[in-house]
């Protein structure tokens, strides 16, 4: 069945399919429609919607709901995401599953409500304190706003770790047709770790505090091993990369423009391909190395090289000299023409 919806609404449809029990949030543009959809639909499903007094409130309500093994979420943008970082650190430390959707606007500071991808490092490198990581998924269509929200819940529960859906203002606000998900929801059992105040979970303890330094270190090593094991769940899209001479790599709404550029370049005889990261953490390292081997790489992003830095970090050494960046900021999108021009220039061909 199909529905014509906004990206932000698709998030909530996905969340409902993923069995979301509770939404806690504070209004902010351009993410508010997720809360509006949650407020509309969750109570009808007998689930919880609550407008918090601030984003610190939202994330700490999630800390509580997640501790009880409930499937909870929030959504915000720039300033609100910053306020939730402290809580994300605690959730990660206490190994709790929760989903936060970041409909990125511009920054730093108040910025404006246009699209940008400047929260990349905050999401992918973990914007709070301590040695932790969040799972980060990057949708590039209204369909993926839904599907990757479901995936975020799956991964969050698989690894007992917070997951961020890193969207942007374009994806949140645009409308597309959405194929509703199919299949029966598999709700994982949480009784081995959650605390519900009943006999079954009485032996469980949720904590992010280890006062003994050796125990804290052991906990940290365990977390690092968990983050490494997430490599099993990388996801990426390679489009026309096999015979390509140049790979354009991007994520999110920026990848849609890059995809059109690839098609157009091909028509002109430039062998271009697209590599789109769908998981940003875990980073699809192997997939990228394979797609980019021996090729020039053009990174397109709506930020100051944050994604480019990760591409450089994950490419094998010999590929790193071939990487260039095209980017815009402030709410501007990259024009497809500009990507084509840059690609031609890198390939030494004239228009």
């Amino acid at each position: 069945m199909k529905k014509f919806v906004k990206g932000n609404e698709a998030v909530m449809i996905g969340a409902l399919y993923a069995g979301c029990d509770a939404y806690f949030g504070y209004p902010i543009t351009p993410a508010s429609e997720i809360a509006h959809a949650a407020a509309d639909m969750l109570p009808q499903m007998g689930k919880v919607f609550l407008q918090a007094e601030c984003e610190t409130g939202s994330i700490n309500m999630m800390y509580g709901a997640a501790s009880a093994g409930k499937r909870c979420m929030s959504a915000s943008s720039g300033p609100g995401m910053s306020l939730m970082q402290e809580g994300l650190s605690y959730l990660a430390g206490a190994q709790l599953p929760a989903v936060v959707v970041d409909v990125q606007r511009t920054g730093p500071g108040l910025g404006n409500i246009g699209p940008e991808q400047g929260d990349y490092d905050q999401a992918v490198k973990a914007g709070g304190h301590g040695n932790y990581k969040c799972i980060v998924l990057a949708p590039a269509s209204v369909q993926e706003m839904c599907d990757l929200t479901i995936r975020a819940f799956e991964l969050a529960f698989k690894y007992r770790n917070p997951a961020i859906v890193l969207a942007d203002a374009v994806l949140g606000q645009m409308m597309e047709s959405l194929e509703l998900p199919e299949g029966q929801l598999q709700v994982p059992d949480t009784k081995d770790w959650c605390v519900r105040g009943d006999a079954e979970t009485r032996q469980n303890l949720i904590a992010s505090i280890y006062l003994q330094i050796d125990l804290q270190e052991e906990h940290n090593w365990m977390l690092q091993r968990k983050y490494e094991s997430m490599a099993a769940d990388t996801q990426a899209q390679s489009y026309l990369t096999e015979d390509a001479d140049i790979i354009i790599t991007a994520y999110g709404s920026c990848a849609c423009i890059a995809l059109s550029a690839v098609d157009e370049l091909r028509k002109e005889g430039v062998k271009a391909g697209l590599f789109r990261s769908i998981t940003l953490f875990p980073f699809p390292k192997e997939e990228l190395a394979q797609a980019a081997a021996g090729k020039k790489v053009l990174v397109a992003e709506l930020s100051n090289g944050q994604y480019r830095d990760d591409v450089l970090l994950h490419l094998p050494c010999e590929g790193r000299g071939q990487v260039e960046l095209i980017n815009r900021m402030g709410g501007n999108l990259i024009r497809m023409e500009a990507i084509k021009e840059k690609a031609r220039e890198m390939m030494g061909v004239k228009a």
Partner: protein, 287 residues
């Protein structure tokens, strides 16, 4: 210098809806400033984020347009750094009582010499109509689809309970009283809260100009604003909302006067630089 309301105007157009209560409040504020003969260069307008928080941009004077919810810490610090400036905070009910609730409480304990004007439209305006802490019970919004269930926040009762030194409510539809109260608030030494009922024509269909008009009345002339218990009692009225100065006490030291930095040195903080000799003395005294 000749003072008139126009001298506080800025050239740009105001991005508020036609009919927004912010216009009346802003207009009255300009008149009050002119009547008190405060030159724009001695004024600092401070705000957070929201529709109300745009006021500093529309008013001639210095300005600090900070983070959503965080106007008050900045205002307190500006006052402490340069006590010769008149600091006027203008932000929304969501900004001040919601996101900034903790700062709101902390200022009343500190008693900085600032005026805290809250444009109370009982809704989040800028983000399009979600309930704010002061929204009426039962009000339906696109987020509170079955109506608000929270008890509305009572800023006046909280402020009186916390020992704020000036606590008032105004409805700019009552221009004469609003003018008088704002005047007193600006002349008050210490933290002055002025909760202002302003209609949000776009996002709040319940608390309209007419609603505020019908649900407010002036505190009687016999009300004694130094009587804290009576002030508290009056602040609890909720069918009809009294307007005017509920509570006012003079003479409590203000925050900057209590700062250790001013104990032996009247020089405003913003003029001070690092005194290397003093630094040596401080370090020597630790030896």
């Amino acid at each position: 210098m000749e003072f008139n309301a126009k001298m506080y105007d800025m050239p740009q157009e105001k991005a508020w809806c036609p009919g927004c209560g912010n216009f009346q409040l802003h207009s009255i504020l300009r008149e009050v400033l002119a009547e008190l003969s405060i030159p724009p260069q001695e004024l600092v307008f401070v705000s957070g984020i929201g529709q109300a928080a745009k006021l500093p941009q529309y008013t001639r004077g210095h300005m600090f347009n900070g983070l959503h919810g965080r106007s008050l810490p900045a205002a307190m610090a500006i006052n402490a750094a340069n006590p010769s400036l008149k600091v006027i905070v203008a932000s929304g009910d969501g900004c001040t009582y919601g996101e900034g609730g903790n700062h709101f409480l902390a200022q009343m304990q500190r008693n900085p010499d600032i005026v805290n004007i809250v444009h109370n439209n009982m809704v989040y305006g800028l983000t399009k109509g979600q309930a704010s802490p002061t929204s009426s019970k039962g009000m339906r919004t696109r987020v509170q689809v079955d109506g608000v269930t929270n008890e509305p926040f009572n800023p006046l009762a909280v402020a009186i309970a916390m020992g704020a030194t000036f606590v008032a409510r105004v409805f700019p539809g009552n221009k004469a009283q609003t003018k008088e109260v704002l005047k007193q608030a600006i002349q008050h030494k210490g933290y002055a809260l002025v909760d202002c009922f302003v209609q949000c024509v776009a996002m709040n269909k319940v608390n309209t100009f007419q609603w505020y008009k019908e649900h407010t009345y002036e505190l009687e002339a016999s009300h004694d604003p130094t009587d804290r218990q009576m002030a508290f009692q009056r602040a609890l009225e909720s069918e009809q909302y009294p307007t005017g100065v509920f509570y006012s006490v003079e003479g409590r030291p203000v925050f900057w006067e209590e700062c250790a930095a001013y104990r032996h040195n009247p020089e405003p903080l913003f003029r001070r630089s690092v005194d290397m000799e003093k630094l040596q003395d401080v370090l020597d005294s630790k030896a």
